[in-house]
Symmetry: C2
DNA sequence: GATAAGATGTTATATCGTAACATCCTATAG
DNA sequence: CTATAGGATGTTACGATATAACATCTTATC
């Protein structure tokens, strides 16, 4: 299938495109996209599961870093603050964001069979939710949705 | 205002009514509503905030129990399993459920100012959400919504 | 009164997360 | 070229959350 030089092909953005986006976003906004931060984002992007902080620490060690826990948590804090990653609260674990740069409240689909986590494109449901809550007198500033169930692949397999 | 003998008055159910409901539900379903479980539910019902497991342990100690962590976690596991309580993942803390016995995915409104947690009556939004996710090939089995923002009281106060 | 299931007691430890302070790096002013 | 200031990282130590594993007790039933 398409490589990066094929500007015509329709597809979601690639790993490399996301890294380049992060790079440029940081440059534009005077943010330091340091080696640890870059590596953590790479690891999250390459994983189809959410990764725990200590798991990330192990992976960082495998590629030559010698980080203590605060290093991972600080990198994650940075990535989350600027919209490159989210925390999945049900798992105490972290995932790369699918549309960094855009304001949004994330919604996750967590497969109970294969543990994959995918982020829903949920700009629409945001507003439904907010309206709903506002109607009860609550002023929503941010909202997170986490759904557990079966992803398409695992639902196909399960005969039950 | 109304006491329990006033069957006509419209209001949400009282602490005592909820305890009686739990009692009867357990009796009907051969579940043991033991002293620790009862006390933990009482404590959650009486609190307007979510309570952490270790906070509950302290409160249990104040009333004569001498529990180690697993005791609290087991009581909570029971209450959650049978729909009397929920875990608020953003807070690593627990709240009593507002409508036990009914199948539902909870939605919480967490006030960033006063820390109050209230559960939204969200049977409707459930289905909206499920439809939305199903459309992306994911089979939702349960979903949790957690919104942060300002409760009505705190929004009124805040002049900003 | 034997037995089995569920509940609780208890110890120890795993897992997740952060406070606090030292050090380093880099940009910019003097 | 130093000085210095802010942000980033290194490091130690610990706090907070959660559970595994096994012992004991309680209760219902045979």
């Amino acid at each position: 299938m398409a490589n990066n030089t094929d500007g015509q092909t329709k597809r979601t953005s690639t790993f490399r495109e996301k890294m380049i986006f992060a790079e440029q976003y940081c440059a534009k906004n005077d943010l330091q996209f340091t080696p640890v931060r870059r590596k953590v984002l790479e690891l999250l992007l390459k994983s189809d599961r959410a990764l725990g902080a200590y798991e990330l620490l192990d992976l960082l060690r495998e590629v030559g870093f010698k980080p203590q826990p605060p290093v991972a948590y600080r990198a994650l804090e940075f990535l989350i603050k600027y919209g490159f990653a989210h925390k999945v609260e049900h798992l105490n674990a972290f995932v790369a964001c699918i549309h960094p740069g855009k304001e949004h409240s994330p919604a996750f689909m967590i497969c109970r069979s294969c543990d994959s986590v995918s982020e829903m494109d949920t700009l629409r449901s945001d507003s439904m939710l907010a309206e709903n809550l506002i109607s009860q007198g609550f002023k929503v500033e941010e909202a997170v949705i986490e759904a557990r169930g079966l992803c398409e692949a695992c639902a196909d397999v399960e005969v039950k």
